[in-house]
């Protein structure tokens, strides 16, 4: 009797790339729902635009590259890029911001480098950086979170602004947008108002609640919860978020102890802006992150340090995207110098 031959091993664990990617998407859901709850229709629009543009770009490029577009799109990687991008962009970003970022993320950052598995940089963050550098003003357009002033604008106001660039008669964009806590503290510090002053200012006090900022703290807590689930499921690496958060806490704590009036607390840094989204969903993107056990500690820790540096002394409101992409550049070097000692290596 004759048989076919296949290479060993002849048994396999049935985990697929698709399983892993969709688990990431599920883990995003609680934080994303909180985002929608606190920042309204704009977040939903971002998601819709980013998902459709990303998938469309993915399919077109795969067609140009003569690859099987249908099976490739099922791996869910383009969907993750779209969601991360949409959740990172400000809730009142005009449609063309989201579109440009999405096209750039998929076409340039992902496929020009060879597609899934070959991109040296996190596609979503590259897309984010492109629009951040090109259109800095539009990138600050967040609504007031639910519970602050009038909260977010209604469907038609948001729709008219995002898709048509129209504002209600006689109103400026300032009337429907509001700075984020991180951004506000930074601009106030530049005008020599220290943190306590800003937080106690009657105009802004509603923006800051117990931990960090109204809305933001809940969004971050829910991303943390989703992230912990993801780590428990073995999809995300635990070292990167741990190293990232520990570094961020240590550095921000050090500076706030030295001078609390000019440096926000560790708690504020950990639960504001994109901290938790970065820790568990962006920095842990396996393709662009370090893959050695020691390398992942270094990679996570350096992102934490860079985020703090950019937030505190840089010119941008948040430093996540830059920190991640800067460390993406260092990954080949980190991986090369952090090879584990193999079994029986005498130097160990």
């Amino acid at each position: 009797m004759l048989f076919k031959r296949t290479p060993s091993p002849h048994i396999k664990q049935y985990i697929t790339v698709q399983d892993m990617m969709f688990k990431v998407l599920y883990a995003l859901i609680p934080g994303a729902l909180a985002s929608i709850y606190f920042f309204g229709w704009g977040v939903l629009f971002n998601l819709c635009i980013a998902i459709s543009v990303c998938l469309l770009t993915e399919v077109s490029i795969l067609k140009i590259r003569q690859r099987d577009a249908i099976s490739a799109i099922q791996d869910g990687s383009a969907l993750i890029t779209a969601c991360l991008l949409a959740l990172a962009l400000p809730s009142l970003a005009p449609w063309w911001i989201t579109t440009i970022a999405s096209i750039f993320a998929i076409a340039v950052a992902k496929h020009l480098y060879g597609g899934l598995g070959f991109n040296p940089f996190n596609p979503a963050m590259v897309g984010y950086i492109v629009v951040m550098i090109s259109f800095p003003l539009e990138m600050t357009l967040w609504t007031a979170p639910m519970g602050v002033n009038d909260g977010w604008p209604d469907f038609s106001t948001t729709f008219n602004w995002v898709f048509l660039g129209l504002l209600p008669y006689g109103e400026s964009i300032d009337s429907i947008s509001m700075a984020t806590p991180i951004d506000l503290i930074k601009t106030q510090l530049n005008q020599l108002h220290d943190i306590t002053e800003t937080r106690n200012n009657i105009k802004y006090s509603a923006l800051f609640s117990t931990i960090s900022g109204t809305g933001w703290q809940w969004i971050n807590i829910l991303y943390l919860a989703g992230g912990i689930w993801l780590v428990k499921k073995g999809v995300a690496d635990w070292r990167i978020p741990t190293a990232f958060l520990i570094t961020l806490v240590l550095i921000s704590n050090l500076f706030s102890v030295i001078d609390y009036s000019n440096n926000s607390s560790a708690l504020f840094h950990t639960f504001s802006g994109g901290t938790m989204l970065c820790a568990f969903f962006i920095a842990t993107d396996p393709v662009s992150a370090s893959t050695t056990p020691r390398g992942r500690w270094i990679y996570g820790a350096c992102i934490g340090a860079l985020v703090y540096i950019i937030r505190n002394w840089g010119g941008y409101p948040d430093g996540i995207a830059f920190a991640v992409v800067l460390m993406n550049i260092a990954v080949p070097l980190i991986d090369y110098y952090t090879q584990p000692k193999v079994y029986g290596d005498l130097d160990r």
Partner: protein, 525 residues
């Protein structure tokens, strides 16, 4: 199952579904004899054996058919009495799928043994080297699957601990399990012999905790022994605990230094089945002509363990076990993790055949093409050698030999853990094997070209030497001739002068004579 001592852990590893129960339902059954036996000359690690028989020879059961090719090689014996019909190439169980030289024997069903002189209990009086020679002449190799010649391993360099490997960490395989259940005392006798050879102070029998019956049987056998030489060590069930280096780490807490031998840590590992074979060789003077093989899997009707003669066609073994099921898929020699699939069952059982696994067709047939590596690092977590499989894959696909060696490709034990967990379904082990073979090939070619260059250079050197010698000779000759002619010229000169002088003298004499004559003439006139 008390654990008497702390044990260590090796890095990585997997917990696998074992499917051991499939083949442990019945006791070891003995195979009926076949008509023809096909005995490959290469069943072990090392050099191919050299045949001692020719077609037409009558051979007896246990007669040596082939002797070891050199130091690291093994003897091969006839499993039956009969006639050698042919020595030619035939399909053998090898990962390459290539045929190799085999001795064909027709069974006369007389089961006539060669003369045997067993040492039995008297082995205590024998020296280590004479016992090692018996083991070598019995063709005993490691029966755990690697088939390394056993006597070569049994050095006397300060070994304290003999580790008997009864771990059997691969799923499905149960041949060591049933052997320990049924023949525990014989295994311990074999271990005693090895202990005597290597002068070990203790013997630790390592068994995974998923084999309670085997553990109990060995413990019962140990209780009858009063020397305190033996100890059972129950270890957790983690694949690949049965790997020699992994097991040594578990037992001793130390790692065998890179490219060194376990003896350096004062330990020696032998499989329990090897100990049993050594027992048979010393107590019954029986060479290694049979072994216990697990025939199992969901593709075979009655999975069980069989005691089978080396050289039996696999098809007969499958038939003995009820044949294939309707949904049988692949035939694998060895376990599902490290075994290799065979393209036919017209292949003989060899010394290394610990298991024949017949798989059933999977219900959810996966896509054939694998996805790109997403660098998730799951392979890093499970690698027992602490390699970076994803980097090795990257360098193997780009054929970057320098980086492959830097990333310790040759430390890979091909256990398959990385490929098992890979979400992209990449056949990683296959990539590493291919890379290793390519590098070996290049190394061989480099060596061959080195030799060719050396030969060429030597040839060139020799030609030049000859030319030089010839010139030297010519030069010498010329010089000699020149000297000779010089001498001649000087002689010539003197002779010429002499001749001239002579001639002058002659002329003068003539003149004088002439004058004298004239004078006399004048006088007479």
């Amino acid at each position: 199952m008390k654990q008497t001592e702390e044990i260590s852990k090796f890095d990585g590893g997997l917990t696998l579904v074992a499917y051991k129960h499939l083949s442990t339902g019945s006791t070891i059954s003995t195979m009926e004899q076949s008509k023809t036996y096909i005995i490959p000359l290469q069943q072990h690690i090392g050099v191919i054996s050299q045949p001692l028989v020719k077609p037409g020879d009558r051979v007896l059961k246990g007669q040596m058919l082939a002797k070891p090719g050199n130091m690291i090689s093994a003897a091969i014996h006839s499993p039956i009495s009969g006639v050698v019909t042919d020595i030619k190439e035939h399909d053998v169980p090898h990962i390459s799928g290539l045929p190799d030289q085999c001795i064909f024997i027709d069974n006369d069903f007389k089961d006539e043994w060669i003369e045997r002189k067993p040492l039995a209990d008297n082995y205590n009086q024998s020296t280590s080297s004479s016992l090692r020679k018996i083991i070598r002449d019995a063709g005993i190799v490691g029966l755990g699957g690697a088939a390394f010649p056993s006597s070569v391993k049994q050095t006397e360099m300060n070994i304290k601990t003999l580790i008997l490997n009864g771990v059997e960490c691969e799923p499905y395989i149960t041949c060591d399990d049933v052997l320990m259940r049924e023949r525990a005392e014989e295994i311990l006798s074999g271990a005693d012999i090895i202990g005597h050879i290597i002068k070990a102070r203790q013997c630790i029998i390592a068994i995974e905790d998923n084999k309670p019956e085997a553990i109990k049987a060995i413990q019962t056998a140990i209780e009858k022994d009063s020397t305190g030489f033996f100890k059972v060590q129950v270890i957790p069930t983690i694949y690949p605990s049965g790997g020699e280096k992994q097991l040594i780490k578990i037992i001793t807490g130390k790692e065998v230094p890179k490219s060194r031998y376990p003896a350096e840590l004062g330990v020696l590992c032998h499989n329990v089945a090897t100990a049993y074979a050594i027992y048979r060789a010393i107590y019954f003077a029986e060479p290694l002509i049979s072994r216990i093989t697990t025939v199992t899997g969901h593709g075979v009707a009655q999975p069980q363990n069989i005691e089978v003669l080396i050289g039996t066609p696999m098809s007969s073994c499958i038939k003995h076990c009820g044949g294939y099921t309707d949904d049988s898929d692949e035939l694998i020699m060895g376990g599902p993790m490290m075994g290799f699939s065979l393209n036919s069952d017209n292949i003989p059982i060899i010394k290394a055949t610990n298991c024949l696994l017949v798989t059933a067709k999977a219900k959810n047939t996966q896509k054939q093409k694998h996805l790109p590596c997403i660098r998730c690092g799951k392979c890093v977590e499970v690698c027992p050698v602490r390699l970076l499989p994803q980097q090795l894959y990257w360098y193997a696909s780009s054929k970057n030999i320098e980086r492959l060696i830097e990333h310790h490709l040759f430390d890979c034990i091909e256990c398959g853990c990385c490929a098992y967990v890979c979400p992209s379904d990449i056949p990683l082990v296959q990539y590493y094997r291919f890379a290793k073979t390519t590098i070996w090939q290049q190394e061989r070619e480099r060596k061959a070209s080195d030799i060719a260059r050396q030969r060429h250079e030597f040839h060139q050197h020799r030609l030049e030497e000859q030319k030089r010698e010839r010139e030297e000779r010519l030069r010498k000759k010329r010089e000699m001739l020149k000297n000779k002619s010089n001498e001649k010229t000087s002689d010539d000169k003197t002779s010429k002068q002499a001749a001239i002088a002579e001639a002058v003298a002659r002329a003068q004499a003539k003149k004088a004579e002439h004058n004298k004559k004239k004078e006399t003439e004048n006088k007479t006139d």
